[in-house]
Amino acid sequence: MATSALEKTLSQLQSTPPPSPQRISSLLTTAKKHLLHLSALLPSPTTPPPLLHLARQTLETGALLSIRLQDPDAFTRYFQQLLPFYELPSSSYQPADNGQRSKVTGLYLLLLLTRGDYAGFHTVLEGLEVEMKGGLEADRYIGYPVKLERWLMEGSYDRVWGATKKEGVPSEEFAVFSEVLINTIRGEIASCSEKAYPSLPIANAKNLLFLDSEGSVVDFAHIRGWVVKDGRIYFPLQQGEDVRNEKEILVASGQVIENTIGYARELETIV
C-alpha cells in the first residue's frame, strides 16, 4: 500500500513539466516518509530488491531536483544517503538505469570542485577508479568534472570556459554549476594576472577575463583594487621589495641564532 503511494509520488516528481519548487519539496518529504515507513531509507539485507530499486530512484530524483533548486546541502545529503545503495552488490538487485548513478556522482564531484575541496574530490575519484576499472573518462557525466579538474590544475582556463558553455555541458543539471565555475576561474585568472603582467590594456583584459564589456572590466578592476589609467590596467606592484628583504634578513638572523642556541642545548644534553 505504502509502496504504491510511493510510486505515485515518484511519478508526480518525475512528471514533465516539473512541478513548482514548493510542490517539489513537499512531494519529496512525503516520498521520504513513505520510505521510512517501508524502512527502506537505508538498505538492509532483508529489503526486497524491487523496493531497493524504488528507494534508489526516489533518492536519485531527490538529488537531481535539489540541484535544480540550487540547494547543494540537500544534494550532499541525498548523495550520502545514496552511497550505501551504490555499494550494494549488483546481484541483490538489477540496476535498470545505471545512468543516474554516474550523473549523480558526476554532479557531486562538480560540487566538490566548485567548493575547492580538491582532497574530497580525489578521495571520491579514487574510489570510483577502482570500481569502474578505469572507465572514468569514457563516462560522459563523470568524465566532465574529471576533465575540468585537470584543466583547472594545469591552468587551461580557456578550456574550462569552453566547457561551461551550453554545448559543453553534459546535462542541464550540470549547467547550474557553470556560473560558479566561471566566477572561480575569473578569480584565478585575476590573481595570476596580478603576478604575471606589469600592466594590461583593458581590451585584452576583457578577453582574458571572459567579460562581456569593457565597462565590466573596469568594475571588476575596481573590486580587485587595480588601477585603471589611460586604457590600461596597472596591477599593484609587489611594493617595497627592499623593505621586505631587510625584514627578512632580520627574521633570518633571529632564526639562525635560535637554531644555533638549540643545537648548543642539544649538544649539552648529549655530551
Binding site: 555499494e87 550494494l88 552488490p89 580538491y118 582532497a119 580525489h122 578521495t123 575519484l125 579514487e126 574510489g127 577508479e129 577502482v130 570500481e131 578505469g134 585537470r150 590544475m153 594545469e154 591552468g155 587551461s156 582556463y157 580557456d158 578550456r159 584565478e188 585568472i189 590573481s191 595570476c192 594576472s193 596580478e194 603576478k195 604575471a196 603582467y197 606589469p198 594590461l200 590594456p201 585584452n204 582574458l208 627578512e248 633570518a252 632564526q255 639562525v256 637554531n259 643545537y263 642539544e266 648529549i270
Partner: protein, 641 residues
C-alpha cells in the same frame, strides 16, 4: 607474578603438590636447574637469562606469600609488573628471614642452581624434558631430518613462552615469533599433529580443533608415539618419558595454545587452504577475545594478522564492494577497542594497520582517514607495524593531496622497512609511492634510488616515468602512462600518476624559463604540445603565480620574459636545509636513547659496579698521591705524541 612466586614458594615447602597450576610452575623452576648439568644445552643467551629469573623469583618470593590469593591470570597483568620493581628495596629487608637466597641479589649462577633445587619435581617437567631430548638429538638428527629439528625448535619455543609468562618479559615471546620463519618451511600436517598430540591430552577440546583444522582428526596418541619412535631414534630413555608425560594430565598455557594455533594458521596459509584457514581463524579470535593476558599480546597480534590475510584472499576479492574483507571489519574494530582498553599495544598496532589496509583495499579512503583521526597509533609498536602504518598514512595523504605530509610518512616507511630480502615487497611498494609523491611535489627523485639492487627491476617503469616528467614533454609522459597502464593500476598509483600531467607542464615551463631569457608564447605552445596560445598564456601565468618560475608576460607582444635568477646561497634555503638535517640527526639520537632497554634489577648490578668504580677511583687517587712522578711521565708521553 605474585601467583607465580607464591606457588614456587609453597612447592618448596610441600614438594608433592597436586595442584595443576603449581605443577606447571614447578616444571619451570626445575627446568632452570636442569638446564645446567646437561652438556648439549640451549644457546648461551638462554642460560644467561636463567639465573636472573631464578633470582628474581626467589628474592621476591617472600612478600606476596601472605596475601596472594589471586589466580595466575590476574598475576600477569601489567600493573603487577611495576609492583615487582617497586618491591626491590623491601625485598632486601624481608630476605633476612633466614634464607640464604639473599645472596642472589646480583645474579650469580651458583645461587640460582642452589635455589632451584628444592623445587625439583619429577612429574612436572614435561615439556622441558621433551625439548631437551629433542635438542640433544638435534645435532645428530640435523643431518638426517630437518623435521626433527623443527619439532625441537618449536618445543624449545614452548619453554621460552613459559619463561615469558613466568618473568613477564615480552622479549622471549618476540624471540619465539622471530623463529617462525625458520620453522615455517618444515610445517606439515604430520609434524603439527605430532606436536599437538604430544602437548595436549587426548581429551583436550583445543587439541581437537587444532587437529581438525589440519585434517588429522583421527590421529591418536599411539600413532604419535609411533612417529616419535621413528624419528627420535636411540634416545629410548627420553622417548619413554616423553610418551609417558604426554598422556599425563597437565594444564597448557594459553600462550602455547596460541603459538600452536599460529603455526596451524601459517601451515594452512602456505597450503592455500584459505577457506579452512578463515574458518579456523574466526574461531580462534573468538577464543582469544575471552583471554586477557598481557603475555599473549604479541601472539594474538600475529593471529589477527593471519586472520585478516585469509579473508583478503577469499572470493570475492577486495576491489569489489562485497569483498569478504568487509565482513571482518566489525571484528577488527572490536579487537581494536578491546586492545585499547586492555592497553594491548601489539594487537592495537597490528589491528590498526590491518584496518587501514582493509579500508584501502576497497578504497574507502574517507573511512580510513576517519579511523586515523579517531584513533591513536601506539608509539611503542614494533618497527614493522610503524613502517606499515606510515605507508598507509602516506598513501591516504597522497590521495588527499597533502603531498608534504605524505612524503614525510613515506620517507619514514622506506627507512623503517626491514632490510631482509623477504620484506623487499614492502620496500618496493613504499618506494614506488614515494617516487610518485616526490614527482607530485615537483621534485625529481634521486637517480640512486633506482640503482638499488632490490628496486632496480621493480621500479623500471617508474624510472621511465621520472625521465618523462624531467624532460617536460607531455607526449612522452602520456606514452609512458599508456605503456605501463596495467602496472600502475596494479600498484594503485595510477590516479596519482594522472595528476602528474600538470607537473610535466610546469617542469617544461621551468626548463624554458631557465634556458631562454625571452620566449614567445607561440614557441611555448609548440614545445609543450599545447592547443592554443591562449592556453599557453594562462598556464604560464599560473606557473608564475604558483612560484614555479620567475618571469613576466608581455601580452601585447606575446612573449614571456624571465627574471634573473637570484643566488640561492643568498637566501635562507641552504640554512633551512642544514637545519632540517641537524634536526633529523638529533631526533635519531633521541630515539636511540629512548629505544635503549633497561633490564629489570640491572640497577643493582650497576650499583655494585659503581661501588667498584668508586673503589677503583679511590685506589687510583691514592696511587697518584703516592707517585707524583707519574704525572711527569704522562706529560712526556703527550709531548712525544
Amino acid at each position: 607474578m605474585p601467583g607465580e612466586r607464591r606457588t614456587l614458594r609453597s612447592s618448596k615447602e610441600t614438594p608433592s603438590s597436586t595442584n595443576g597450576e603449581k605443577t606447571r610452575s614447578n616444571s619451570q623452576s626445575s627446568s632452570s636447574n636442569k638446564d645446567k648439568p646437561v652438556p648439549t644445552r640451549a644457546p648461551s643467551s638462554k642460560s644467561k637469562a636463567l639465573p636472573k629469573k631464578a633470582s628474581t623469583k626467589e628474592t621476591t618470593g617472600d612478600k606476596p606469600q601472605t596475601n596472594g590469593t589471586e589466580p595466575v591470570e590476574n598475576g600477569v597483568n601489567g600493573t603487577e609488573d611495576i609492583d615487582m620493581v617497586d618491591d626491590g628495596p623491601e625485598k632486601v629487608k624481608l630476605g633476612k628471614e633466614g634464607d640464604d637466597e639473599m645472596t642472589v641479589v646480583v645474579p650469580p649462577p651458583k645461587g640460582s642452581k642452589l635455589s632451584g633445587e628444592p623445587g625439583k619435581d619429577e612429574e612436572g617437567d614435561v615439556t622441558m624434558d621433551n625439548a631437551e631430548a629433542a635438542e640433544a638429538g638435534g645435532p645428530d638428527a640435523d643431518r638426517v631430518d630437518p623435521k626433527v629439528k623443527a619439532v625441537a625448535d618449536i618445543k624449545a619455543n614452548f619453554l621460552l613462552l613459559e619463561r615469558a609468562v613466568a618473568q613477564f618479559d615480552a622479549r622471549f615471546t618476540l624471540r619465539v615469533l622471530r623463529s617462525i620463519s625458520s620453522v615455517r618451511k618444515h610445517l606439515s600436517p604430520d609434524l603439527l599433529a605430532q606436536l599437538i598430540i604430544e602437548t595436549y591430552t587426548s581429551t583436550s577440546p583445543i587439541a581437537k580443533t587444532l587437529l581438525a583444522a589440519i585434517g588429522k582428526e583421527n590421529a591418536s596418541i599411539e600413532s604419535a608415539d609411533d612417529s616419535l619412535e621413528m624419528e627420535i631414534d636411540g634416545q629410548t630413555k627420553d622417548k619413554t618419558q616423553a610418551g609417558k608425560t604426554s598422556s599425563s594430565p597437565k594444564e597448557i598455557l594459553p600462550e602455547i595454545d596460541t603459538y600452536l594455533s599460529v603455526l596451524v594458521q601459517i601451515y594452512l596459509y602456505d597450503a592455500r587452504a584459505i577457506e579452512v584457514g578463515a574458518k579456523f581463524s574466526s574461531n580462534l579470535i573468538e577464543r582469544l577475545r575471552t583471554l586477557n593476558r598481557r603475555t599473549l599480546d604479541a601472539l594474538s597480534a600475529r593471529v589477527y594478522f593471519y586472520y585478516s590475510l585469509f579473508f583478503e584472499q577469499l572470493a570475492p576479492l577486495p576491489p569489489s564492494p562485497t569483498a569478504s574483507v568487509v565482513s571482518i571489519r566489525p571484528h577488527l574494530l572490536a579487537a581494536l577497542r578491546t586492545s585499547v582498553l586492555r592497553k594491548d599495544q601489539d594487537t592495537r598496532a597490528t589491528v590498526t594497520t590491518l584496518l587501514l589496509r582493509n579500508y584501502l583495499s576497497t578504497s574507502h579512503i574517507t573511512q580510513a582517514d576517519l579511523l586515523i583521526s579517531h584513533s591513536e597509533f601506539p608509539p611503542a609498536a614494533s618497527n614493522n607495524q610503524i613502517a606499515r602504518y606510515l605507508y598507509y598514512l602516506g598513501r591516504i595523504r597522497a590521495i588527499q593531496l597533502s603531498y608534504t605530509e605524505a612524503h614525510e610518512h613515506l620517507i619514514g616507511a622506506t627507512r623503517k622497512s626491514p632490510a631482509t630480502p623477504s620484506a623487499g615487497g614492502f620496500y618496493q611498494a613504499a618506494s614506488k609511492l614515494l617516487v610518485v609523491v616526490e614527482l607530485l611535489m615537483g621534485d625529481i627523485p634521486d637517480r640512486a634510488i633506482f640503482r638499488q639492487p632490490s628496486l632496480e627491476h621493480a621500479l623500471q617503469p617508474y624510472l621511465s616515468l621520472v625521465q618523462a616528467v624531467r624532460v617536460g614533454k607531455i607526449e612522452g609522459f602520456l606514452n609512458v602512462v599508456q605503456t605501463h597502464n596495467a602496472l600502475f593500476r596494479r600498484d594503485g598509483t595510477y590516479t596519482l600518476i594522472l595528476r602528474l600531467r600538470q607537473n610535466v607542464i610546469k617542469t617544461g615551463i621551468r626548463m624554458m624559463s631557465l634556458s631562454y631569457a625571452k620566449i614567445s608564447l607561440r614557441d611555448i605552445c609548440l614545445k609543450l604540445d599545447l592547443e592554443s596560445e591562449q592556453s599557453a598564456e594562462y598556464i604560464v601565468a599560473k606557473a608564475i603565480r604558483d612560484g614555479v618560475i620567475e618571469a613576466s608576460i608581455d601580452h601585447e607582444h606575446g612573449y614571456m620574459k624571465s627574471k634573473d635568477v637570484g643566488d640561492v646561497y643568498a637566501t635562507r634555503e641552504p640554512g633551512e636545509a642544514f637545519h632540517e638535517r641537524i634536526r633529523a640527526c638529533l631526533g635519531l639520537h633521541d630515539e636511540s636513547v629512548k629505544a635503549m632497554r633497561y633490564p629489570m634489577n640491572q640497577h643493582r648490578l650497576e650499583l655494585k659496579n659503581a661501588q667498584e668504580a668508586r673503589e677503583r677511583e679511590r685506589e687510583l687517587a691514592k696511587e697518584i698521591v703516592e707517585g707524583e712522578m707519574d704525572d711527569d711521565d704522562a706529560g712526556g708521553d703527550f709531548e712525544g705524541m
